[in-house]
C-alpha cells in the first residue's frame, strides 16, 4: 500500500477508541478499601505506584491506543491493543502490591472503572482488528488456545494474587472448583439431554407438518417464560414428584437443588435444538434429495447420509445458542440451591461484597464467550466440509 493511502487513513473506530481510552484514563484506575465490604477510595492510573513503575505501563497503554489509529495496518492495530492490555496488566499487578504496602491487614485493592473501561476499549480494538483480518477457523482456535494459556499462566503465576477478587478466590478455592464442575455439569448435561430429546423430535417434526405446527409454538412459548419464574415453577412440580415417587427421590429428584435447575435448562434448550434441526433438515437442496432417491436410498439412508450432513451447520448453530444460553441461565440455579457460579453471585449481592459477585460473574462471562467462539469455529468447519470433500 502506498504511503499516501496509509497517511490519509486514520481508522475511525481507532479514533473513537483513542478518545474513549483517554477519557477512561481520567477515571479512578483502582480502589483501595480498608476491608472487603466498605467501598474504597479511587486511585488514578498514574498514582497507583511510584512514577518509575507506573510510567512504563501508562506508556504501553497510550502507545497501544495510538497504534490503533493506523487504518491501513490491522496487524499493527492488533499489536497495539495487545501492548495496551499488557500495560494494563502491569499497572494492575504493580499497583496492587504498591497500594497494599502498609495499608493494613484487611485492606483490599480492586480494579476500578478506569481499568474496566480501558480493558473494554482495548478488547474492542482487538475485535475490530480481528474483524478486518478475518482469521480462518484453525487460526482462531489457535489464538483462543493461546489466549487461555496466557490467562491461565497469569492466574497461576500469582501476579494478580494481591487483588481482592483473587483473595476471595483463595479462601474459597474448593468451593470454586465444585461450583465450576456443577456449572459445567448443568450447562453441558442439559445440552446433552436436550439433544437426546430434541434431535428425534426435530426429525419427527421435519417429517410431519401437523406435529411441527403443534410443537414449535409450545416450545417457543416455553422459551419466553422468564428464567426465575421457570426455575421457580419447577420447584412445586419436582417437589411433588420427589414426594410421590420414592424411586425419584432416591436418585435425588427434589423440589430444590440440581434437579429443578437441570429440568428448567432442558426445557429452555428444546426450542433451539428442535427448531434448528427442522430448519437444517429442510435446507437440503431438493436436487440432492432427488439424486439420493434416484440412487435407491431408503428414507433412513437419505436422513443419515444426505439430510443430516447437509443440515449439520444449522443444527450446530442451534447447539451454540443452547450452550451460550445455558451457561448464562445456570447462574439462576444459585437461587434455588442448584449450585454453580450463581452461588457466588447471589451471595455477593446479599453481602454487598463486590469481589464475590465478580468471582461468580467473570468466570460465567468467560465460559460463555469461550463456548460461543468454539461453537462458531465448529459451525464454520461443518459448513466447509461438504465443499472440500470429493
Amino acid at each position: 500500500m502506498s504511503i499516501r493511502t496509509a497517511g490519509r487513513g486514520l481508522s475511525p473506530p481507532g479514533l473513537l477508541f483513542a478518545m474513549l481510552g483517554a477519557a477512561a484514563l481520567a477515571l479512578p484506575f483502582m480502589t483501595l478499601s480498608p476491608n472487603r465490604i466498605v467501598s474504597g477510595q479511587g486511585v488514578a492510573a498514574w498514582a497507583v505506584a511510584a512514577p518509575g513503575i507506573a510510567l512504563p505501563g501508562l506508556a504501553a497503554v497510550l502507545a497501544g491506543l495510538v497504534l490503533g489509529l493506523a487504518a491501513a495496518y490491522p496487524k499493527l492495530r492488533l499489536a497495539g491493543a495487545l501492548a495496551g492490555l499488557a500495560g494494563l496488566l502491569w499497572l494492575l499487578s504493580q499497583g496492587a502490591a504498591a497500594l497494599l504496602d502498609g495499608a493494613g491487614e484487611y485492606a483490599r485493592v480492586s480494579p476500578a472503572a478506569g481499568f474496566w473501561c480501558l480493558g473494554l476499549v482495548l478488547m474492542l480494538q482487538v475485535a475490530d482488528a480481528m474483524a478486518t483480518l478475518r482469521p480462518g477457523p484453525g487460526l482462531r482456535a489457535l489464538l483462543l488456545a493461546a489466549f487461555l494459556a496466557v490467562l491461565a499462566a497469569i492466574l497461576w503465576s500469582g501476579l494478580l494474587s494481591d487483588l481482592s477478587v483473587m483473595v476471595e478466590y483463595a479462601s474459597r478455592a474448593r468451593a470454586f472448583r465444585d461450583a465450576t464442575l456443577r456449572h459445567l455439569g448443568l450447562a453441558f448435561g442439559s445440552l446433552a439431554a436436550a439433544g437426546v430429546i430434541g434431535f428425534p423430535l426435530g426429525i419427527l417434526c421435519h417429517r410431519q407438518a401437523t406435529l411441527r405446527g403443534a410443537t414449535l409454538p409450545v416450545l417457543s412459548f416455553l422459551q419466553t417464560i422468564p428464567s426465575l419464574a421457570m426455575f421457580g415453577l419447577m420447584i412445586p412440580i419436582l417437589g411433588w414428584v420427589g414426594a410421590t415417587f420414592p424411586a425419584a427421590r432416591a436418585v435425588g429428584i427434589a423440589g430444590i437443588g440440581f434437579a429443578p435447575a437441570f429440568l428448567a435448562l432442558v426445557l429452555y434448550s428444546l426450542l433451539p435444538v428442535v427448531a434448528n434441526t427442522v430448519a437444517g433438515l429442510a435446507s437440503t437442496p431438493p436436487a440432492a434429495l432427488e439424486a439420493a432417491r434416484g440412487m435407491g436410498m431408503t428414507a433412513g439412508q437419505r436422513l443419515w447420509q444426505v439430510e443430516l450432513p447437509l443440515g449439520l451447520p444449522v443444527i450446530l448453530a442451534g447447539l451454540r445458542i443452547v450452550l451460550v444460553q445455558n451457561v448464562g441461565l445456570a447462574v439462576i440455579a444459585g437461587l434455588i440451591g442448584g449450585g454453580g457460579y450463581g452461588t457466588f453471585v447471589f451471595q455477593g449481592l446479599n453481602q454487598t461484597a463486590t469481589d464475590l459477585i465478580l468471582l461468580g460473574a467473570l468466570p460465567t462471562v468467560l465460559l460463555a464467550l469461550v463456548a460461543a467462539i468454539v461453537m462458531d469455529i465448529l459451525v464454520e468447519l461443518a459448513r466447509r466440509t461438504p465443499e472440500t470433500t470429493p
Binding site: 419466553t224 422468564p226 419464574a229 448464562g328 447462574v331 437461587l335 460465567t364 464467550l369 460461543a372
Partner: protein, 244 residues
Amino acid sequence: MKWGAILRLVLVLLLLALVLRPGWFTPVFAPLAPAGGPVIYQRSSLLSLSLSHLGLVAAASGAATLIAVTLAVLVTRPAGTAFRPLSRTITNMGQTFPPVAVLALAVPALGFGAGPTLVALFLYGLLPIFENAMTALSTLPPATIEAARGIGLNRWQRLTRVELPLAFPVILAGIRLSVVIALGTATIGSTVAARTLGEVIIAGLLTNNTAFVLQGGLIVGLFAVLIYDALSQLESRVSRRLGR
C-alpha cells in the same frame, strides 16, 4: 385460529384475576404454603409490583429501541461503513454475555436499586434491536432505493418514507426479542432490590414458601407469554400490510 383466541382470552382473564384478586386463589395455593404461613403475597400489592415491573421494561426497551435504531441508521450510511465490522462483532459477542452477569456487574458500578436494573436492561436490550435493524437496513432491495431516488426523494425522505417502513417488521422482531429478555432480567432485578414481580418469587424461595414461588412465577410467566404473543400478532399484521 379460533381456539387460539379463546385460549388468549382465558389467559388474560387468569392473569388479571391473579394480579387484581389474588385472594380468590387461596384454596389453590394453600396446600403449597408452609403450615400456618401466609398463602398469598401481601407485603406489597401485586398490582403495584406489576406496574413497576412493566414500567422498568417499557422505559429500558423504549430507550434501547431509540438508541439502537439511531445507531443502526448511522452505521448503514456511507459515512459509518468503517464501524460496520466492529458493530457486527460487538452484537455477536455482546449477546453471549449472560443477562444475569450484566445485571450483577452493573451493581458494583451503580449500587443497588432500580438504577442498575434499568441500565442492564437497556444495554442488553440494545443488541437484538440493533442487530435486526442493521440487517434490515442493509439488505433492502436496491431497486426500491433506486426508485425512491428516481422520484426525487432526498436522503432524509428516503430514510423515513422508504427504508425505515420497509425495515419495520424486522426491527419489530428485534424489539420483541429484547422485551422478552428484559421481562426475564427485570425479574432477577429484584435480587438487586429493584421493585419487580421477582420479589414474590424470591420471598418464596427465602421462606421455603412454594405458594409464593408459584404465584409469582405464574404472573411473570403469563405476562411474558401474553406480551410476546401480542408483539408477534402486531408483527405479522405489519408485514401483511407491507406485503399487500
